[in-house]
């Protein structure tokens, strides 16, 4: 990590680089610049995950003229790709250096691509093709599934953690805070709170799972968004996070791409 990132900073290819630094024995995301590049550490595998794409987005918005580098995992690379497509980040202003996830982390995440396109650090491990949790839910009868979800949604404390940590939730105004759509002063919130968020994740969620990791109530949000992603892929053949293509909900398209239905 030292040499590669240092070189980018020294050459002036990037103005800042988002990587990790050990603080009190823990990995923390850290912005390295020319001034503090001597603090760069050697790369080592870890399971620490942070919304690094979101930090990058915040900095890029503040300093639109600057170029930033970022150390990405598979999911973080997908997030950056998605932010390109939604015109939130400039392709020319971002340099990505990839790191692969460990096999343990990939299995834990049920990740379908636990490595970025170019792996600079670590060894790429086998992806997990199917989510066991989604399959478990799909086998359930409809009524039980509703009860299962409502039982989980019931614990929601409406902390907005899932939204705040989400790397692809880039809107500056959020419909979840609109009191005509989601009632304020109500706990647990209407279960439509979670469904509305799920709808917004359609064609956007890159399956990083930070939402579930950060949830203080342990709501299995990732399963919900995994299914959302699966639906979009099945019906429209679009998988968020790929380098090309666009979410089917961002453009009208032509008649040929419409799903079957009444005509």
């Amino acid at each position: 990590m030292k040499t590669k990132i240092k070189k980018l900073l020294e050459e002036g290819r990037v103005d800042g680089f988002f990587a990790y630094k050990t603080i009190h024995g823990f990995f923390f995301p850290y912005l390295f610049t020319k001034e503090n590049m001597d603090e760069l550490e050697d790369w080592k595998p870890s399971s620490a995950r942070y919304p690094i794409a979101k930090l990058l987005l915040a900095q890029a918005r503040k300093n639109p003229e600057k170029t930033y580098g970022v150390l990405v995992r598979g999911c973080e690379e997908r997030a950056v790709h998605e932010l390109y497509k939604w015109n939130q980040l400039d392709r020319e202003k971002v340099v990505m250096v990839g790191q692969a996830c460990t096999a343990d982390l990939a299995a834990d995440c049920e990740c379908w691509k636990p490595f970025p396109t170019d792996v600079a650090y670590g060894e790429a491990v086998e992806p997990v093709a199917k989510s066991a949790r989604v399959e478990m839910l799909e086998k359930m009868a409809g009524e039980d599934r509703l009860k299962w979800w409502l039982g989980h949604f019931n614990r929601c404390v409406k902390c907005f953690g899932c939204r705040d940590v989400c790397p692809v939730c880039f809107c500056t105004e959020c419909s979840l805070e609109h009191n005509k759509l989601v009632e304020t002063d109500k706990l647990p919130p209407d279960s439509s709170f979670h469904l509305v968020r799920a709808i917004h994740m359609g064609g956007r969620c890159i399956d990083c799972g930070l939402c579930e990791e950060v949830c203080p109530a342990n709501i299995p949000l990732r399963v919900l968004y995994k299914e959302v992603g699966k639906l979009v892929e099945e019906v429209y053949g679009y998988k968020p996070g790929s380098d090309d293509g666009k979410s089917p909900f961002t453009f009208l398209g032509d008649e040929l791409m419409l799903p079957p239905g009444p005509r």
């Binding site: 599934r145 509703l146 979800w149 039982g151 209407d190 469904l195 009208l252 398209g253 239905g261």
Partner: protein, 149 residues
């Protein structure tokens, strides 16, 4: 004497201003009979119906939601209804996964000349909801948590 109250479905219908609403109008002036279970909301285009509104309708106790717009190719806004069908297809899958019957959401294309079709769709949909019964509660409740977990 106690009589069991008969279940009357409550259906929210979102009709597009240019075709389906006029179709409903035609059904009215032609004096066609259809069940009084629908509550019509006129929208400028079926493509303006946000999934929020659909979820919100169910949250507030609607037993069914009907969305009707112009036929593909006839949209007043050229391709507004392309978005409607994309969203509806996605919503169906999502409602199903959330454990809600996707049959409670229905998308139909009804033109301004199809008063008969409008009456027919409402009749059919009302009957369908009647057989499905009242919609399950959408409210997250502590009781359910203990029952399931």
């Amino acid at each position: 004497m106690e009589t069991e109250k008969k279940f009357e479905p409550r259906i929210v219908a979102m009709l597009c201003n240019w075709c389906s609403y006029a179709g409903a109008d035609l059904a009215g002036v032609s004096r066609l009979q259809y069940p009084p279970n629908i509550r019509v909301i006129r929208v400028m285009c079926s493509g303006t119906v946000s999934p929020h509104h659909i979820v919100h309708a169910f949250q507030r106790g609607a037993d069914g939601v009907l969305i009707a717009g112009c036929h593909i190719g006839d949209c007043h806004y050229i391709r507004g209804n392309y978005m409607t069908i994309k969203r509806a297809k996605f919503m169906e899958g999502l409602l199903n996964f959330a454990g809600y019957s996707p049959e409670r959401l229905r998308l139909e294309w009804i033109s301004a000349a199809e008063g008969v079709k409008f009456a027919e769709v409402v009749r059919e949909f009302t009957e369908k909801i009647r057989t499905l019964g009242p919609a399950p509660s959408f409210e997250a409740s502590p009781r359910l948590a203990t029952a399931v977990l």
